[in-house]
């Protein structure tokens, strides 16, 4: 069973503060971590057994995460990095992932996190399933593979259901659905002293057409929720106002 896990690195939210009044995001401490649910995805893939390959797109932060993943037990890590991918959107990334998966070859299951904290990246799982013409299971909590069938427990609101699909398939793993293992200390040392622990591919290796690399989403900037006004005492029909707020959550 060959599984591939897509990993993304994000700025650690602990090193970031948002000032709504100044309309600015301050990065106090530049530090990258696994996108949290991608770490759950890696754990789910490692528990399935078989060979796990990890794949990431980006520069040094993602290389770091890929090394961590190897120390946790992934057999192979591939970093796709290219200056031309700096403005890549979900459509372009989907094409890159698809081609990389085809180049790795023999992958029956792709696993990734169901949520991406720092971008609009949750759409990549279902997009990739469509591009590969594979089945897609979202919000998965537990994965099992039996012969050629993937079974998963998925969250539906606060309840759970069991679903199954034939392989090959793409599964998006819910955040906090399992307890990711720690990296093995011995592996940490050997992986971090191995200059070739992460294979580096560039776009030329993937043979993508110009139209496949054309983004259709443009990032125009950031906006901020309204500044909080604390200590505001409700007047009039206070219960109705509370009910209105609570209905929206």
């Amino acid at each position: 069973m060959n599984t591939l896990v897509i990993l993304r690195a994000i700025q650690d939210p602990a090193g970031l503060s948002v000032n709504r009044r100044a309309q600015k995001v301050f990065i106090n401490r530049e530090q990258y971590i696994f996108n949290p649910s991608d770490r759950n995805a890696l754990e789910a893939a490692l528990r399935l057994g078989g060979e796990v390959t990890v794949l990431g797109v980006g520069g040094a932060p993602v290389a770091q995460v890929l090394r961590d993943a190897r120390a946790m037990g992934a057999a192979r890590a591939i970093q796709v990095t290219d200056e031309a991918l700096k403005d890549a959107d979900a459509l372009v990334l989907t094409h890159v992932f698809k081609r990389a998966i085809e180049r790795v070859g023999g992958i029956e299951l792709v696993v990734l996190g169901a949520e991406v904290l720092d971008s609009d990246g949750a759409q990549i799982g279902p997009r990739l399933a469509e591009a590969l013409d594979w089945a897609f299971i979202g919000n998965a909590h537990e994965l099992k593979v039996n012969h050629n069938t993937l079974t998963a427990i998925v969250a539906r609101g606060r309840a759970f259901a069991r679903v199954e699909a034939d392989l090959p398939a793409v599964a998006a793993v819910a955040p906090d659905s399992n307890k990711p293992r720690y990296a093995h200390a011995g592996r940490v040392i050997s992986i971090f002293s191995d200059a070739n622990a992460v294979e580096v591919w560039c776009l030329a290796d993937l043979d993508l057409s110009e139209s496949e690399l054309q983004p259709v989403t443009e990032l125009r900037g950031e906006s901020f929720p309204p500044e909080r006004e604390l200590g505001k005492r409700l007047e009039g029909d206070v219960v109705a106002q509370l009910a209105e707020t609570l209905r929206r959550i």
């Binding site: 997009r127 469509e130 909080r228 505001k232 509370l242 609570l246």
Partner: protein, 316 residues
């Protein structure tokens, strides 16, 4: 026929021109507020609103809410892959359907989109997507011929229904393909790494100001009604209403929910420090001088039990 085949056949500009109108996937009654949003944009653009529904008996209702054309199809996402929507909206809980259809159309997609509008010159769809749990938003512009967005219907106003509006049901001979994922039914399951309080999106917490076990029961009912986790401050733990794992404070757990409802919580420093990352705090407490009010967005001075009883009646 997909976008690539069309472009090859007639050139990219003409292929893009085939995409028209605003399409809304509305298989669930909860999705209907999307029609109001679509109507608002369609009125400024001068185009039609198409609604894709699964239940034909809902046709009159979606027409009253703003649809000009109604399509009945077993699987709206698969149906939309065969159509040419210029703008296409799904409810936020159907992201995977929206993303698959967007990929088929080589389209951009803004998920959980806020503040949607259209640039009338370039026809780009503009909208914002919240990141880091809503700490701030990224503003996107979609420039593909088809543009997709998922919207949380609960953030939209109740749409205005006009029973005199006219619209038509457009017949189709679409046959939905068998879904690849088979549903084996509900299961009883508790996730292993469940950390209810630290990861909870909504929390209802109690303190000694709630007075007695009867008040605690009311607060628990509110938590259940909201799908929230339940906790308490140090005084609640001392009263035996919550255990150590559900004590919110620097001696217990620190939390960062979207909404934190403090009922009868006085708000000592150790408690308020532990809820500093909450995005919206509602506080109900009898004494107007309580420190919890200094950190709350919505303050209600009143007897917690009375307020809870009325609130539960109103929420139904």
């Amino acid at each position: 026929m997909d976008m690539d085949a069309l472009s090859a056949l007639m050139g990219e500009d003409l292929a893009a021109a085939i995409y028209a109108d605003i399409w809304v996937s509305a298989p669930d009654p909860a999705d209907l507020p999307l029609l109001g949003e679509a109507r608002r944009l369609a009125d400024s653009l001068g185009c039609y609103v198409h609604a894709v529904i699964t239940d034909e008996t809902q046709a009159d209702r979606v027409i009253a809410l703003g649809a000009d054309k109604v399509h009945v199809a077993g699987r709206p996402d698969e149906f939309l892959m065969t159509q040419y929507p210029e703008f296409c909206f799904f409810a936020v809980n159907k992201l995977h359907q929206a993303a698959r259809a967007a990929q088929r159309h080589k389209a951009g997609l803004i998920s959980d989109a806020r503040n949607l509008r259209v640039d009338e010159v370039s026809r780009a769809l503009l909208g914002s997507h919240p990141v880091y749990g809503g700490e701030y938003l990224l503003d996107f512009a979609l420039t593909s011929p088809a543009k997709f967005a998922t919207i949380d219907p609960r953030t939209l106003p109740e749409p205005y229904a006009d029973p005199n509006r006219s619209g038509e049901v457009v017949p189709n001979n679409f046959v939905a393909p068998e879904p690849r994922v088979r549903d084996l039914g509900p299961v009883d399951y508790t996730p292993q790494a469940w950390r209810p309080l630290t990861k909870a999106k909504v929390i209802v917490s109690v303190g000694r100001g709630i007075r007695d076990a009867e008040g605690v029961a009311l607060a628990k009912r509110l938590a259940e009604r909201l799908g929230a986790e339940f906790g308490g401050d140090r005084s609640a733990r001392d009263s035996g209403w919550v255990d150590e794992e559900h004590e919110i404070g620097l001696t217990g757990v620190e939390v960062a929910p979207k909404v934190y409802v403090a009922v009868g919580v006085r708000g000592d420093t150790v408690h308020n420090a532990a809820i500093a990352r909450a995005q919206h705090i509602i506080a109900i407490y009898p004494n107007p001088e309580a420190p919890i009010f200094a950190v709350a967005d919505q303050v209600v001075v009143g007897e917690p039990k009375e307020v809870l009883t009325k609130l539960l009646a109103m929420l139904g």
